[in-house]
Each structure stands twice: as C-alpha cells, then as structure tokens.
C-alpha cells in the first residue's frame, strides 16, 4: 500500500490554506509534516482521510481503502467516544469487525498494558488525563491494523518517556505491517528521530520534502531553515576570520553564512565574543554571544561559561 | 346593563315585573351556552333567534358551544372559586345535568313562572319534573324530544315492530346493529327504552328511586343486552363513542339502524345531505321515551335580565313554530297547543315535517316518560359493570 497526493489545494472562505501540495508515501514509510501553527497540517490529514474535499487535486491510493483496511486518523483532540470506557473505546474497531470476544479481550488487554492504561481500563474519557486520552486514541487506531495511518500531534501530551515508547511502538508496527504513515508534529526532535522523510509546510506550500538530515542541513530556503531552529547569519568576511574548519566558506565577500547555534564552538579566550545571556535548557546551555554588532546564538553542552565572560568562537563543520 | 365588577351579583330580575326586566335587558349582550354539535341548530340560533332578539329587544346574542357536562363543571369551579359574576347568561340543560346543577346550587331562580309565555301557553303539569327531579321554576321549557330509530328503506325492508323483533333481527344480521356507549345521551336513552320494554313498562319506576326494584329488574336488561352483544357491530368489542359516531356508521351503511332522541334528526340529515333521501324513522310498539329540554340561568350570570328575556322568547309561539320547521330544526314544541289561539294552532298544524319525521299522531300514543335520574345513573353504572366490563 502506498499513497500519493497530487496538486492538492484547499481554501476556507476564499483564504487559501493549501496550494499545490504533492508528495508520496511509500509502504513502510513514515513521513512527518511540520509547519507553523495554523499552516494547514490538520487540514491536510483530513483531506488524505477523505473527511474534507480538496478544492483541487486528488489523493491516490495504490489499493482503495475498505472498511476492513481503512485510512485511520488520530485527531489532535482525540475524539474519544464519551459514553464508552477506555476498554470499550479501544475495542470498538475490533467489535465492529465482529471479532471473537476472547480475542478482542486479549488484544485490548495487550494495548492497555502497552500504553500503561490498565488501571484506567474502566474509566470514561471524561475521567482521564490528557495524556491518557491521547494514548487511548492511539491505541484505538493501532489495534485495527489500518491501511494508512494519519497521526495529528500524537505526542503533544505525553511525557518524554511515554513519547519515546509510543514512537517506537508506532514505528515498529508501521514498519512490520507496511502501513504508510503521515505524522504531524511540533516536536522537531521527535520528527527527526522517527521519520523517513520530513515535509515542511510553509506559506501554504510544501516548502521542502526530504530526509531529515537533508532537511536540517540543506534547507531549501531561508524560511525553512529558520523554521527548524535558530540560524545565525554571519557575513562571509567574519566567518573566514572565525572559521578554521569552515568548509566552503563564501567566495563572495558580501555573502552571508547561515550557521546553526550548535555549530559554533565556544572556547575560553579573550575575544572577540562576549557572553550576554545564558539559559539552561537541560542537556545543553543556550548562550547569546555578542560579536561586534552581531548577536549570535550558541548551543553548547559546556556550562562553565558565565554571563559577561569574553570567549573565542569557532565555526564547526556543518554550515547550512 | 352588563356589570363590570365581579363582586355584586345582580339578582333583582328575580323579583321585578317582567316589563322592567325586559327594559333592563334592552341593548345588552346575552351569552347562551349550548350543545354545539348540530350545525342546523347552531344556524337557527345564529340567524333566526339572534335576528329576532336584535330586532325585538336590541339584544346581542352570543352562542357559545359547550357540552352541558362541561359548563356544569365550569360553574362548579366558579362557585368553588367564589366567582360571583361569571360569563354565562343562559344554559340549555336538562336531566342529570339539571339535577347536578340544582343540587350544587348553581342555578338562579325560580324564574320560569315569571316568564309571560310560560304562564300563558305551557301546561305546568307537563314541566313539573325533569327526569323525575322537580323543576321548581329553575328552568324554562324550550322544546320536546322523543326517541326514534332510523333506517334506510333502500337497504332494509320493514323495520322490526317491537323489541323482540329487533332482537331477532340483530341475531340474524350480525354486525349490522349497535348503540352508542352509555353514558352517551342517546345510548343511555336506548337502554332505558329496552329496560321499559323487557321489565314490563315504565309505570313501576315513576315513584322514584327504589333500590330493590332496580335490583330485581335490571338483570333482565343486562341479559337482553348481553344476548345481542356478540351480534353487534365489531362483534360488540367496541361501541360507538357517541351518537354522532353512530350517525356516521349509519350514513356509511356499516349498520342498518340509527337512533336519535330527536324525531326530526333523520330529516335534518337528509336535508344536510349526509343521509340518503330514503332514510326514515320508526318507533317500537313497546313505547318511545320522550323528554322536555329546558333553559336555565346560572347563579352568577352577568345578565340575568337578558337571559330571562331570551328564555321567554324561546318559548314564545313564534320561536317554537320556527323551531318546529324541519328546515330549521324540527324540534317539537314544548307548548300546550290547546292553550294557543286557534290561528296559531293552525300554523303549527300546517308545518310539513317531511317524509322522514313521524307525526305526533304516531309518536303521541307511544310516548312514555323519562325515568327518574337516580335510575339513570344506576343504569349507566350498571351497564359498565354488567355489560362492558362483564
């Protein structure tokens, strides 16, 4: 099973949301779509699921989805059935398939176990925490072996550990059963870690659609680069000065180099930079370093530097 | 004049000379609550009566259709609520409802004896009792009715001559006969009719309520009714709700016989077009119940003077004659024709009742009086217990 989007376009009240979106998702492939809030990611998933009609273009499946092999979307706000318990919610798809009772019981129990929901099995959705609801929604979708899986922010309300486990589960299942999967997320780290390809939805268009590393290190445009993380723009002249390791440092002296914060190295020294701000962000520190009139953002795992301290800077190998 | 405040009942008309009463009534409005189920009667009231009242007394007549049982209850509630001035001026009433109203003190009076037309033309003996209950001047006579059966000459041959023949006919023709379910007025009258016939006549009941007599005689009635039940319309599982329903069944030919407490009913229906022209009426040899119907004034009537004038007009020779015309209504006069001047009497004689209505020559000899209302209640209750819920 694979699917292909061809020139999808969509408007709401004359405002264009999506324009000429085309991409394909192969079997066993997991594609993440990222983009700013309100970019139309949810709309795109709904179009793939057939819940919204595109104004132009079409969605083509290699074999049409059926009731037994459906396209399943996990909504951003879960859409659990409020009058059913957690167990009944998860088993719903199986009951609809008239599966044997014991088998249903077994399968739902497995899911409950896996998603750490066993204690909540008999609670109603209104009695769940947000993360629990999210897990129920994912479990309910995964249990029926969908033909195509569409995930809308599947990890937004999960803690780090659950997120990793859930991602792994989805990834394994999806690979094993050859389910083309489209996942929409704001969690770039997760997107990079789990996707085969990433699509960046910016300004109504699919700005770039490529492997994670390509997307990160060779962004198609400045906008795409900036969406993925802060970018320092350093004039070529200055860059030459800083960068012994710079690869293809600019031929054109007016050109600017775009450098990601983790590609600048701070070493203790007497200049030319001065640290003006330091923020702790878990497994790294974010330093703002003043360099003449320039303000550079630098991520560094070393926490020894202090605000006010003068430091030397070096450009690392990766330049955007 | 109509009173606006509702705390001063105006009972003066009970004592004033009638001329003053008539003077007071001039230019007022009279609201007459009456059974509204007969279009021709409504028509007659709205055109002839209303017209004459306007012409003669400048009175505006407003006819309000309402079943007697309902307005009695309305008055009961008004009385309970202490509503001293209501909105009903005159009632068309008789029998059980009159008894109920009298016993609950809902009526104004006595006033009937003060009406000139009653004084002059009505035989007091003929209106001293209403279903065995003394009238005492609390209601004024208005018309007279007698129970008749209806049949269609085009369908049935000769109608049964007496009750025994009727029973035989019913059993030979299953599903072709029924009677309205008591306590419907007509249905109730039918079972009284049968009671008289199967228990040896009406005389024994005239002395008033006698429980022993009732206990002794009524089983004969129940037996008779139960005997025919399996042969009735819908196998007796159900009875027509009321006489209008029976009329419909008769007009559609579902049953062979209709019945009515109004001798001219069939003729009216023919004129109206809902009965075939071949419909006729007949009475059984065993006798045919007649009654008088009356008008009465509620205790809290806002315009008692107007009500008295209307009641007086209704029993006048002119009104009774007009009412007697089959095109208008065909209701029999409550006057004593003997007391009328010859000229007037002649006008009554000249009325052509139409082919479907029997003349007084046929009806008169067979007329039997109504039973006292205590029996009536007992019969209706007994019918439910012994026939319906058997």
């Amino acid at each position: 099973m694979d699917l292909e989007l061809r020139h999808i376009g969509k408007q709401y009240k004359r405002r264009t949301i999506l324009e000429d979106i085309s991409f394909g998702v192969g079997p066993r492939e997991l594609v993440s779509v990222v983009g700013p809030s309100g970019a139309g990611k949810t709309t795109l998933l709904k179009i793939i699921a057939g819940l919204e009609q595109p104004d132009t273009g079409q969605v083509v499946f290699s074999s049409p989805p059926t009731r037994e092999n459906p396209v399943i979307i996990v909504f951003q706000d879960y859409v659990l059935f409020p009058s059913m318990t957690v167990r009944a919610n998860i088993g719903f798809g199986l009951r609809a398939r008239k599966m044997d009772r014991d088998l249903i019981r077994k399968k739902t129990d497995q899911m409950l176990e896996y998603f750490q929901l066993a204690a909540q099995a008999d609670q109603y959705p209104a009695q769940l925490s947000a993360g629990q609801k999210q897990r129920v929604a994912i479990a309910r979708a995964m249990v029926v072996n969908p033909a195509v899986l569409l995930l809308d922010e599947p990890f937004a309300n999960l803690d780090r550990n659950l997120k990793m486990e859930t991602a792994r589960f989805i990834r394994n299942t999806q690979k094993e059963f050859g389910i083309p999967t489209v996942s929409v997320t704001h969690d770039l780290a997760e997107a990079f870690a789990m996707s085969d390809r990433i699509g960046i939805l910016l300004n109504q268009r699919m700005e770039q659609f490529d492997t994670p590393e390509q997307v990160y290190f060779s962004p198609a445009s400045r906008a795409a680069a900036e969406f993925l993380g802060p970018v320092n723009r350093i004039p070529a002249a200055l860059a030459r000065q800083l960068g012994p390791d710079t690869g293809a440092a600019g031929e054109n002296p007016d050109q600017e180099l775009a450098v990601r914060p983790e590609n600048i190295k701070i070493t203790p020294g007497s200049g030319p930079g001065r640290i003006t701000e330091k923020t702790f962000a878990g497994h790294y520190f974010a330093y703002t370093v003043e360099l003449d009139t320039l303000k550079l953002m630098v991520y560094c795992q070393d926490g020894r530097f202090k605000t006010g301290q003068t430091v030397s800077l070096k450009l690392g190998p990766g330049v955007v | 004049p109509c009173l606006s405040a509702d705390h001063t009942p105006d009972n003066a008309p009970a004592t004033l000379p009638f001329a003053d009463v008539a003077e007071r009534a001039r230019g007022t409005q009279v609201r007459w609550y009456m059974y509204g189920g007969w279009a021709h009667v409504n028509d007659w009231v709205d055109t002839y009566v209303a017209g004459e009242m306007k012409k003669r007394y400048n009175i505006n007549l407003v006819r309000v259709p309402m079943d007697a049982g309902v307005f009695v209850n309305k008055l009961l509630n008004e009385k309970a609520a202490g509503k001293a001035v209501g909105n009903i001026d005159l009632l068309w009433i008789n029998g059980e409802n009159f008894k109920n109203a009298r016993e609950a003190g809902l009526l104004f009076g006595p006033f009937a004896d003060r009406l000139p037309n009653v004084e002059k033309f009505v035989d007091p003996a003929s209106v001293s009792h209403d279903f065995g209950y003394p009238v005492d001047g609390y209601e004024a006579p208005y018309g007279r009715a007698q129970f008749v059966f209806e049949y269609d000459t085009a369908q049935a041959g000769t109608p049964p001559a007496d009750l025994a023949a009727l029973k035989a006919w019913i059993m030979e023709n299953p599903g072709r006969f029924t009677y309205p379910q008591p306590p419907d007025f007509t249905g109730s009258a039918f079972i009284r009719q049968v009671l008289y016939a199967v228990t040896g006549g009406h005389d024994q009941y005239m002395a008033g309520w006698d429980p022993d007599l009732f206990a002794e005689k009524s089983p004969l009635l129940w037996k008779w009714l139960n005997d025919i039940e399996p042969y009735l319309w819908q196998k007796g599982r159900t009875y027509p709700k009321d006489s209008a329903f029976l009329d419909t069944l008769f007009s559609r030919g579902e049953v062979a016989f209709g019945m009515s407490y109004h001798p001219s009913h069939a003729q009216n229906k023919i004129i109206e077009g809902s009965y075939p022209d071949t419909a006729r009426t007949f009475v059984l040899r065993d006798g045919s119940i007649f009654n008088t119907h009356f008008t009465a004034i509620p205790f809290n009537a806002p315009n008692k003077a107007g009500a008295m004038v209307l009641a007086d007009f209704l029993i006048s020779a002119d009104a009774q004659l007009s009412k007697y015309q089959p095109d208008n209504w065909g209701d029999f006069p409550a006057l004593d024709l003997e007391r009328l001047p010859e000229k007037e009497r002649e006008r009554f004689r000249a009325v052509d009742l139409g082919p479907a209505t029997l003349g007084s020559d046929v009806l008169g000899p067979l007329a039997v009086p109504e039973i006292p209302s205590a029996y009536l209640e007992a019969l209706e209750q007994g019918w439910k217990a012994h026939v319906l819920d058997r």
């Binding site: 459906p70 609809a96 979708a141 | 016993e103 306590p183 209750q381």
Partner: protein, 297 residues
C-alpha cells in the same frame, strides 16, 4: 493571609432559597390542585355532601377488576406509543441531521405536523385508517383488497392500535425536535471516527448516536408517556370501549355522571397522579443506574 473557603456548605439551601420567588406561585398552584383532588377523592369539599366513608372511593376502585384492566391498557397504549415515537423520532432526527446542507430547508417539513392539534390527528387517523376510510378505499380501487373486510381492522383490533398510531404520529416530530436540539452540537468527527474504525451504519447509530441522544430521549419518553397516559383528547375519538382508557373513564365520571360520583373520579385522578410520580422516580433511578455517574459531560 486568608484561607480559600470551600463554598460547598449551605450552598444547596441558598440555591433553593434563590429559586423560591419563581417556585412559590408554581408550588402553590400545583400543590393546591393536588390537595383539592385528594380531598375530593376522600369525599371532603365535594360539590355535594358525601355520605360514605373516607376511603369508599378507593375501596370501590381496588375491588374492581375493570379498573385494573383499564389501568393496564392505558399503560400499554402510553408505553407503546411513547417508545415508538422516541425510536422513530431518534432515527429520523439522525437521518435529517445527516442530510446535506442544500436539503436542510426541506427538513422544515417535519416541524409542521406539530401544529395539528391532537384531536385533528385523531380525526385524520379515523378518516384514513378505518375499514371504510380513505386508505382502505384506495387499496380497494388499486385492487389490493377485494372488500372492506380484507383491510386489517386497525382501529378496532382490541389493542388500541388507532390510539397508538395517533399518539405516535403526534409524538414522533416532538421526539425528533428534541433529538435534533441535541444533535445541533454533535461533533461529526465522532461519526467519522466510528466509520473509519469499521463500524456499520446501524452500529454507529446504536453505539455512538444513541448514547449522545439518551438524555433527550429519556426526557421525551417521560413526557410522551405521561401525556398519553393522562390525556383524553385522542382516546375521545379513537378509544375502543373495551378495554377502556383510564382517562376516558375519568372524563365520563367527571362530565357525564352524577356529581355524587365525584370522589370516584378524583380517586382515579389521585391514583394516576401517584402513578406518575412513582413512574418518574423509578424511571429516573433506572436511567441513573444505567448511566452510572461519571459518564457526564
């Protein structure tokens, strides 16, 4: 520093007090009415002085098997018509709700029957469905039946079908309106999700839509049941004599019989009223147990 005070205590009492200006005229009226009814059923304050004992009327009723037959029959008619109305109404509401936008104005049609008074519906049923009625005639002229007798005897089957039909016709649009009011805020994605998960049309209706409609349908059922149980407008036209509807019996006692029998009429009314109370309580309890607490929201 000051503590946050839990507002729980005494809240109920205060609320009730706040309600009182609206509730009092209400309660006065209804309690008054009920009190009057009960009194008269005991022979107190009747229009005519009552000779017998206090409980005469009740004793008479309870020893009368016909009373229980009527009671049972009223229950049957009310239960059957209310269930039918609610079921059909819920189903139609769902179908109407699913109609595409362009057809939405069409759905106004279903509101129109609401204006026909009960009694008119009763007449219509009579005119159309009796053996000599319009439907039978039509069937006859279409050659579907040979004669009147072949037409099913709907109105006089002894099962109150005519009344049930009339009440259902009148009750269905009512239940529909109720259900549509709830569906107005229903998230269509619930249905889309269920369909995606493989549920068939009926399963979606029973598992997803019905639970959503449940509060409206229970409410509708109670209203329709009590109405059919107590009203006499439709039975007045369509009831068969046997078994009779309780309401017709009361009507006859009230309007057509001797005033002396007022206590009997009032005793039946009182019993009907008690039954209504018991019914409401029992029904609400049953529903509450079924829905077990937490399901709210």
């Amino acid at each position: 520093m000051s503590l946050t005070v839990n507002p729980g205590s005494g809240k109920g009492a205060r609320l009730l007090l706040g309600l009182s200006p609206l509730l009092v005229p209400y309660l006065v009226l209804f309690c008054g009415g009920v009190a009057l009814t009960v009194c008269q059923s005991l022979g107190i304050a009747t229009p005519l002085p009552h000779p017998g004992g206090l409980w005469d009327a009740y004793a008479g009723l309870i020893s009368d098997p016909a009373f229980f037959a009527s009671f049972g029959f009223s229950l049957w008619v009310a239960g059957a018509s209310a269930s039918l109305s609610v079921a059909t109404g819920a189903f139609l509401a769902y179908r109407v709700w699913k109609l595409p936008r362009q057809l939405a104005p069409l759905s106004l049609v279903y509101k129109i029957p609401l204006i026909l008074p009960h009694i008119a519906v009763a007449f219509l049923v009579l005119i159309f469905w009796s053996r000599s009625g319009i439907v039978a005639s039509a069937a006859h002229s279409l050659g579907l039946i040979q004669g009147m007798h072949e037409f099913p005897n709907i109105l006089y089957s002894g099962w109150g079908m005519g009344m049930i039909l009339a009440y259902t016709l009148k009750g269905t649009p009512f239940a529909m309106l109720l259900a549509l009011a709830l569906l107005a805020r229903f998230d269509v994605r619930q249905i889309q999700t269920a369909a995606m998960l493989g549920a068939s049309g009926p399963r979606i209706f029973f598992a997803i839509v019905l639970p959503r409609l449940a509060p409206a349908l229970h409410t509708g059922f109670i209203i329709l049941f009590l109405y059919s149980f107590g009203a006499f407008d439709i039975p007045y036209i369509l009831s068969e004599s046997r078994p009779g509807m309780l309401s017709i019996h009361v009507y006859n006692l009230y309007f057509k019989h001797d005033l002396a029998r007022r206590p009997e009429a009032m005793a039946i009314l009182t019993l009907m009223f008690c039954f209504a109370v018991v019914f409401i309580v029992a029904y609400s309890r049953a529903v509450a147990r079924l829905e077990n607490g937490g399901r709210k929201l």
